[in-house]
Every structure is written in C-alpha cells, then in structure tokens.
C-alpha cells in the first residue's frame, strides 16, 4: 500500500505539499490583511464603532425682574419599559403592580399598552419627579428602565403661562419666551463620541470623548414682576367670571421705559395642565401681542394729541356738535346719539364724542394724521422681542382704496386694527413727554460669557413734550372730571380713556357680533409710574367705562402701593367707587 522507502510515498508527499502550500497561502493572506491593509481596516472599524450623540446643554431659567424664577429646569426621570421583558404575562403583571401606582396608571392598562408590541421601549412616563424616580430605581421589576432627564419646573405655578410658553420633548422652546429666546436659554448642545456595539448601544468600557462641550443656556431676566403679574391674572380671571366676558387682556407697563410689568390674556393655557390634544390651537399664543382688535375710542387721545401738536386746537378750542358728521354718503354719529352743541376738545374726550374726533382729524388733515399714526407705532410691530407680533391693519390715504370716511372712522379708532401692546405703547408716549418707547420684556440675558442688560429705547419723539403733558392732563380730567368714574382711584390722581368697539375676536380668530370694552389708564397723573391697558371681549354690548375701567380702578392701588407710590392722602378726589 505504501511505498518501499518507508511510508512517505508520492501521494503522501503530495498531500503534505498541498497542506504546506495552503498553509503558506493563508499565512500570507493573513499577513496581508493584518499588516498591509491594517490602516484601511482600522479606519473602517473606527467609522463603524464610534457613535455620535448630542449632549443637551442645561437650559437656563426664566426669572422675573427681581430674580425670582418663573421657569427653571430640574432633574427628573423618564420611565421606560422594555416590551420584550413583558412578554411573559406573569412577569409583566408583577412589574406593573410595582410601577403603575408610582406613575399614576392602572396596572392592567399599562400591561396592555406595553404588550401591544413585542419589542422596543415603551415610554411609560416622562419627567417623573426626582424623588419618585429614585424610589422606582429601587423597585425590582423586569423591563423597568429609569433614565435620567430634565424637565421644566415652574416655581410660581401657572403664573404667566402664555407668556413663558413651554418646551417640547426635545427640550426646545415651542411658544412664548421659551421659543422667542430659545437660543439664549437653550445654550448649545455638545457632542459626544462613544464606542458602540452593532446594535448601537454604548459599550460598557468603551472610550468616549467630547467633540464639543455643551454650552449651558443663559438665564433670561424679564421685566415682568411676579407680584404684579399675579395681581393682574387674578383680577382678570375674576372679572371674566363676574362679567361673563369671553376673554380679555391686561398689560401693565412702565411708561418711562417701556418695560412690561405684567401681561396676561385669557383664554390661554396652563403650564401645569398642558393638553396638546386640545383642538383649540389658538390657546398656544400670547394674545396681548399676537391678536389685533379695533382699539376704538382710546384712539381719540392720539387724535387730540395730533390736533394740539399741530397747533390747530387747544384743549379749550370748541366746535359745534350737531350730533352727526357727514362724510360723503356716510353719516357718523356719537355712540349715544347725543347732540352736544358747542363742545371743547377736553369735553370731546370726556364724553368720547365721535363727531369731535372727526372734527379734530379733519383739522389735522389726512397726510399729517397718518404720519402721526405711524409715528405712534400704529401699523408696525413694536419689536418688543416677543414672537408673533403683527404690524396691525392700517389703511392710509396713500392706499387707492382709501376714502375720506376712513379718516373719520380712524379718528375714533375704528377701521384700524392694532395689538393691545401697540395701543398701550402709543398711549404711553403721551404720558412720557411724547417719547415713544420700545416696549420690552427682557431685562437681562445672563450667560456664562457675561450679562447683557437691555436699556430702554426711545423710538422717537412723536409729539412735543408740552403736547404730551396737555393730553395727559386732559386724560386726567376724563377720569376725574366725571364724578364716580369707575376708573378713579382713592388716594391717587389717575388719567385714562375708555374704548368700546364691536367685533370680539374668538380664540379661533373668528369675529363675532359682540364688542370689546377697553380702558387705558395711568397713575399717578402728575408722574405716571404705570400705565395699564384693560381689554375685555364680550358677546353682548358692554361699555369700556362700565366693565374695563373698574378693573383699572381695582388694580391700580395695589400696584401703586407695591411700586412704593405714596397715596396723596389729603387730595382725595374721588369719593365714590
């Protein structure tokens, strides 16, 4: 069988040679792969093994003007359940009994929802409070994953909800200040590179390094005062409840600076009860800034200021009120169809006479009237820094569709639309020596790199200081010249002007046959520390002087006292409330 020379015959030689050649070839191949091509494969390995993940930067806080936090970020937990671990029904029931009570769910519901799919992670609860999450971590439950996260916390509860806004699941701001100042609050995320397995999970002992360190977000200090804001929101809700209003807006501003002390609107949302399934999308906006309305008779103060500033009239100038003004085909009457005979400019404001406003506007002339309106900031956004600000609706005599009657109606705030913020800003210029301030709500940005403080900005001198003082005095007389005016405040001189127009705007933007009762007032009259706009929307006819003026009357003493304005004790003007 085998060869004569021992056993090592040709065939065995052939076999041995075949193995030797195969072994040599494979060794050469391995050497090539490991020693020659090593760079290529190392690069492929790196490309494959390193995952990249964004590391969220801690989000900054939103503070009130005194530094009290309105929104801040706290540590919390996301509760996940690994669906595959719950495929065993007994294990799922045991785990559900342990988990469900902590997150406020029914064990059966939880079991059903988790087991609806065979694998993957089920988010059982997002943003569980820190101590409760810590407690859950100690619970022995299969499939339970407790993951560290952050959530927004509002130390003042639902205060200024629509103003502050909220963040989404990705911790990015979606509405309100959270959205408008998202870049400052959010900081910039870092990136981390880590070694991962083929499923994408981080390898336990793998290397990791930061590509970029996360830059923490800065704090935003608002001009809002939490005390004033709370007063305003409480009063607004109480008034809406007691008057049956559909909604309303109150803005409180510092006239000398344009700083907004409080801003509230209803309907709105509550941060503690966010319901993203609410069909009323209109809830998620700050109506004081985003919604326009016909300002109505408060505009007469602007018209009067123009007429005085141009020198056409003085507060004592008179015209003969015949109860109507005829503009082409149109007839404009007073709101109460009154006929007042010879009337002064001051009386036009006091009685809120439409015919008087038309007279004043005609004295001024269309060109000057619209120049002044634009100077007052009507028709352009105030650039307060709040998102969603429209310019409003204003048709000037440069528009081909403009008619003479537009000047007449515009003179008493109709046929023109502006936001509550635009209106209060325009009128604030009259109590600030004619200087139109840019309204602002952010006092400071406090970031890691430094603090940026926003100074008040004078947009322009609209009317002369003298004119402004004159009109402010007239507005004082509007309130104090009428005994029992509901805006009058015991112990303080105040000024103001009512407005009433038809056309309440509902949450969905539809305009109803209803009306808007508004009031803009300021106090103290000789050195105004605050100016307030109150606007209430009604389905039925209500007068600004009856429903909105009392809101000012009720709020002003508390706010003035809080601001440290002493009552002028001996000079009580108003004796009745």
């Amino acid at each position: 069988m085998f060869g004569q020379r021992g056993r090592m015959n040709l065939r065995l030689y052939a076999l041995a040679a075949a193995f030797a050649v195969a072994g040599a070839l494979l060794t050469a191949r391995i050497a090539y792969v490991q020693l020659v091509d090593v760079g290529h494969y190392k690069q492929e390995a790196r490309a494959e093994h390193f995952g990249q993940q964004e590391v969220r930067a801690p989000r900054g806080a939103i503070l009130d003007r005194n530094g009290y936090p309105l929104a801040t970020t706290v540590d919390a937990w996301d509760i996940f359940i690994d669906r595959s671990d719950w495929q065993d029904i007994a294990a799922a029931r045991t785990a559900a009994d342990a988990i469900a009570p902590v997150i406020g769910r029914k064990p059966e519901d939880l079991v059903n929802e988790v087991r609806a799919e065979a694998s993957g992670l089920y988010l059982a609860y997002s943003g569980l409070a820190f101590d409760e999450g810590e407690r859950l971590q100690g619970v022995e439950a299969p499939g339970l994953r407790v993951v560290r996260t952050e959530k927004r916390y509002w130390p003042e509860g639902d205060l200024a909800s629509t103003l502050i806004g909220f963040v989404g699941r990705d911790h990015g701001g979606l509405t309100g200040i959270e959205a408008d100042f998202d870049a400052q609050l959010g900081g910039s995320p870092g990136t981390i590179y880590f070694e991962r397995d083929s499923i994408g999970n981080r390898i336990a002992l793998g290397k990791e390094r930061y590509g970029r360190e996360p830059q923490p977000g800065g704090d935003i200090r608002l001009t809002i005062d939490r005390y004033v804001q709370r007063l305003v929101e409480g009063e607004l809700e109480a008034r809406i409840a007691s008057t049956g209003a559909l909604g309303g807006t109150i803005i409180v501003m510092e006239p000398q600076t344009g700083a907004i002390l409080a801003m509230a609107s209803r309907p709105g949302f509550r941060l503690s009860q966010l319901d993203f399934n609410d069909p009323d999308e209109g809830l998620f906006r700050n109506r004081a800034v985003t919604d326009v309305y016909e300002p109505g008779s408060v505009f007469k103060t602007l018209t009067a200021a123009m007429a005085i500033d141009t020198g056409h009239v003085t507060p004592e100038s008179t015209y003969d009120d015949i109860g109507a003004a005829y503009i082409g085909e149109s007839t404009i009457r007073n709101w109460d169809y009154s006929v007042n005979g010879v009337t002064t400019v001051t009386q036009v404001l006091q009685r809120s006479l439409n015919t008087g406003a038309v007279w004043l506007a005609q004295e001024v002339g269309a060109d000057a009237f619209y120049q002044y309106l634009r100077a007052f900031g009507i028709g352009e956004p105030t650039h307060s820094g709040l998102g969603g600000e429209p310019g409003g609706l204003l048709r000037t005599n440069e528009d081909p569709l403009w008619a003479d009657v537009d000047l007449a109606t515009n003179s008493f705030g109709q046929g023109v639309a502006a936001t509550p913020l635009q209106v209060i800003t325009a009128i604030a210029s009259l109590v600030n020596g004619g200087r139109l301030m840019r309204p602002y709500i952010v006092e400071q940005e406090i970031t890691a790199t430094g603090t940026r403080t926003f100074e008040p900005v004078v947009v322009r001198q609209v009317v002369s200081e003298e004119t402004a003082h004159t009109v402010a005095d007239m507005m004082n007389l509007v309130v104090e010249g009428i005994p029992g005016h509901l805006a009058s405040v015991r112990g303080y001189h105040v000024g103001g002007k009512t407005g009433t127009t038809t056309g309440a705007t509902l949450a969905d933007g539809a305009v109803l046959d209803g009306n808007i009762a508004s009031f803009v007032g300021f106090a103290p009259a000789n050195d105004p520390r605050m100016i307030m706009l109150v606007k209430l929307d009604f389905k039925e006819d209500r007068l600004g002087g009856q429903v909105s003026a009392p809101v000012f009357g009720a709020l002003a003493p508390s706010i003035l006292a809080y601001l440290g304005v002493r009552p002028e004790g001996s000079q009580l003007v108003s004796t009745s409330r």
Partner: protein, 416 residues
C-alpha cells in the same frame, strides 16, 4: 479480512508530546479567546458573561479525559469496534433528522438534545471521527483491492455518499465538504486509482454547485465572498466584519479583551469567527501563534503517519490530520475571505462542545498511534531485532520507476 481480535502486545513508547503540546496550547488559547469574544453575547442572551466559557471549559475537560483514555489505549482496538462506531454514527445522523429528537436552530437540524443540563450534541462531529476510523480500518483490510472499482472504490463511495447525504439533509454543506475531502484523501493515500478519486471529487464539486444554486443561503454566501461590498450591511456583512476585526489588529492587536468587533459585529465571534477576534485582540502575533501551532500539529501528525506501526494506524493518522487540516483551512479561508464562508469551526479553538470533544478524542487516537511508532526505515521489513540494532538493516536499493514501486507493494504487508 484478517483483523486480529486481540492484537499482540507490542513495545509501547511515549506519545508525541509535541502533538500534546500543540493541542493543549490551542485549547487553552481557545478558552481565552472564547471568554473574550463571548462575554458580551453571554450577557445579552443569557445574562451571564461566563455562559460560554464555562461550557467550553467543561467540554475541554471531558474531551481531555477522552484524549487521555484513548492515548493510553491501543488504537488497534478501534479497528475491532469500527463497524459499531459507523453504525452508531449513521443511526445518530438519521435520528437528528427525526422531528422530536433533533433540535433545529437557524433552520438547520444539527443537534440532538439529551435533556437535562447536558447541552445538545452534534452527531455530525462524532460521525466524522467514526467515518475516519471505519474507512481507515476498511482500507487497511482491503489492501490492493482499493484499486478495483466495484469491489474497492465503489462500496467506499456508497458509504461516503450515505454519510454526506445524511449531513446535507440537515443541511450542513461545510461539514459535508470536510467529510468528502477527508475520506477521498484516505482512499487517495491508500492507493486508489487516481481516475476514481478525481472523478469522484469532480462529481462532488458538480453536486456541491447544484446544491449551492438550489439553496438561497448558500448562494448568498458565495455572493458575500465575491461581492461583499455591494451589500455591506446585508449579505456582505459577515465577510466584511470578519475582515475588519482581523485587519484592525495590526501587529500586536488591540489587547486582550479589547475587541470591539465582538460586540455583535462579527457573527459567531466565539465560534467560526474566533480567529478574527484573536487577530483583532492579539494582532498578527496572535494569529501567527495559532497558525504555528497548527503547522506543528500537522508536521508532527505526518511524522506519526510515517512512523505508524501498521497501515491502519497510518491511515487513521492521515484521516485525523487531514480532517484537522481541512477544517482549519476552510475556517481560516473563510475568515480571511480566501474561501467562501461555510460555517466550519476552527479545530480546538472555536466554541462548540461536540466539535471540541471529538477533536480531542481524535488527538488522543493520534497520540496512541504515536506511542506505537516504529522507525520508518523498518516499515515493510521484519521487526527490528530485540537488541535494537535496526541501524544495521541494509537500506533497500532505490527503485526509480513507478512500475517497480507498484510491484513492490504486495510484498510488504503481512497483515493480509
């Protein structure tokens, strides 16, 4: 057939310790590599990082005992029991196909579950060894008849075809290739007609091609071998990940336990792909050590063949080393993309109880043969005188032509 039921006791020497060393070193190397490459998978699938390594150690111990027992035994006793072994192997290969007995994993019925804590066994691994023993015994008894077709070659082809067919039914192409190659090598070395051998090999290749064409997973493997880059995350994934593991090792590797590819990138990181992980962690130095140990095993294995006391021992040794060699070549070829992937474990190193235990038993047989080794110069001569003066035997005159060598064969064996 003149098989002696009770071989006369012969002078017993020491086993080839180099073989023992090579096998032992490969097993220890394998246990380390299995530990490193499997702890992530063990944690993921069984919640126990040591799941695979403990089992591998257990199999190594059981296999080691088998090795020692077989080494101490006279290998010629295997010749007596070889028909029984063969029968048992065929029965177990049939049993594995019976639903209820055979356990199916990944679409292949390759395992028999014995129940209890005993891990499922893979009869095809034992069948390989049984077939080698039986064919070696059969060929040794057949002598010059292996050249005849009907009485020599044909019965062998029938047997090989039966076993290969049973294994292809599981299906397991890689094991079938190893079995066919090993048994063909045996008849080739035993002196069968070259025409028969190569015709059978050719026919086997044709059948294999047809099977590849018929089975989608086999076609995918061929595709992965040739055009892996066209589908790197699908059909080419396995091939490319093996290469990335191996290639990123460089000279000295990433360090023990530092493999990244074992985190579920390399499929079968602890089984068929283990050399890639060794290469990744220990670099070319590590793979060279493995290759060197196999080379040592093969060289010493051939030495056993040459020095074997009888033809049965020689053929048995040829079968065992060919089996080890083919599996190593096919496995390493797959890992290095020199051959298509067929799913063959690396002998002694890869995780797998049946394979490790059978391979260790085979090494025990090889060592047993080595214990009865004689000086190759005396083969075909009378046994050396008791005084050990074998050097005095006159070296036969060299015959140059093939005819004369053939003519010499019948004179050589007394066993017939």
């Amino acid at each position: 057939m003149a098989v002696t039921a009770h071989p006369t006791r012969l002078r017993v020497g020491t086993p080839d310790y180099m073989i023992l060393f090579a096998v032992g070193a490969l097993v220890v190397f394998g246990i380390l590599a299995v530990y490193s490459s499997s702890f992530a998978l063990g944690l993921l699938e069984f919640g126990d990082a040591n799941y695979f390594v403990y089992r591998q150690i257990f199999f190594a111990v059981v296999g080691g005992v088998a090795l020692l027992v077989l080494m101490k035994m006279d290998y010629r006793q295997l010749r007596v029991v070889s028909p029984l072994l063969m029968l048992g192997a065929i029965l177990s290969l049939v049993a594995v196909l019976v639903p209820g007995i055979g356990v199916e994993r990944n679409g292949a019925a390759r395992w028999i579950s014995l129940g209890g804590p005993v891990p499922p066994l893979q009869p095809s691994e034992f069948a390989k060894l049984a077939l080698i023993i039986y064919v070696a015994a059969w060929l040794a008894g057949r002598g010059e008849h292996v050249k005849a077709f009907w009485t020599g070659f044909f019965p062998f082809v029938l047997l090989m075809g039966l076993v290969a067919g049973l294994i292809m039914l599981q299906p397991d192409l890689g094991t079938t290739i190893v079995i066919v190659a090993t048994t063909l090598t045996l008849v080739f070395v035993a002196g069968a007609s070259l025409t028969h051998v190569f015709a059978t090999a050719g026919a086997g290749a044709v059948v294999a091609s047809m099977l590849i064409a018929a089975g989608q997973y086999r076609a995918d493997r061929i595709f992965a071998f040739i055009r892996a880059e066209d589908d790197p995350s699908g059909r080419g994934f396995h091939t490319l990940q093996l290469l990335i593991a191996l290639g990123s090792g460089g000279w000295h590797g990433l360090g023990l336990g530092e493999s990244r590819q074992k985190f579920f990138y390399v499929p079968g990181a602890h089984t068929d792909g283990i050399l890639a992980i060794i290469g990744e962690e220990m670099g070319f130095i590590g793979t060279a050590v493995v290759l060197g140990l196999f080379a040592l095993l093969m060289v010493r294995g051939f030495r056993v063949v040459v020095r074997a006391r009888d033809d049965f021992g020689a053929l048995l040794a040829v079968g065992i080393i060919s089996w080890i060699g083919y599996q190593a070549i096919i496995n390493i070829g797959g890992v290095t993309r020199a051959l298509p992937l067929t799913g063959i474990p690396l002998p002694y190193v890869s995780y797998g109880g049946s394979a490790l235990m059978t391979m260790l038993a085979a090494a025990g047989i090889l060592l047993s043969i080595s214990r009865y080794a004689v000086d190759p110069k005396t083969i075909g001569k009378k046994q050396p005188p008791a005084d050990g003066s074998s050097e005095k035997i006159v070296r036969p005159k060299r015959r140059t032509s093939r005819e004369t060598r053939k003519a010499a064969w019948p004179q050589r064996k007394g066993a017939r």
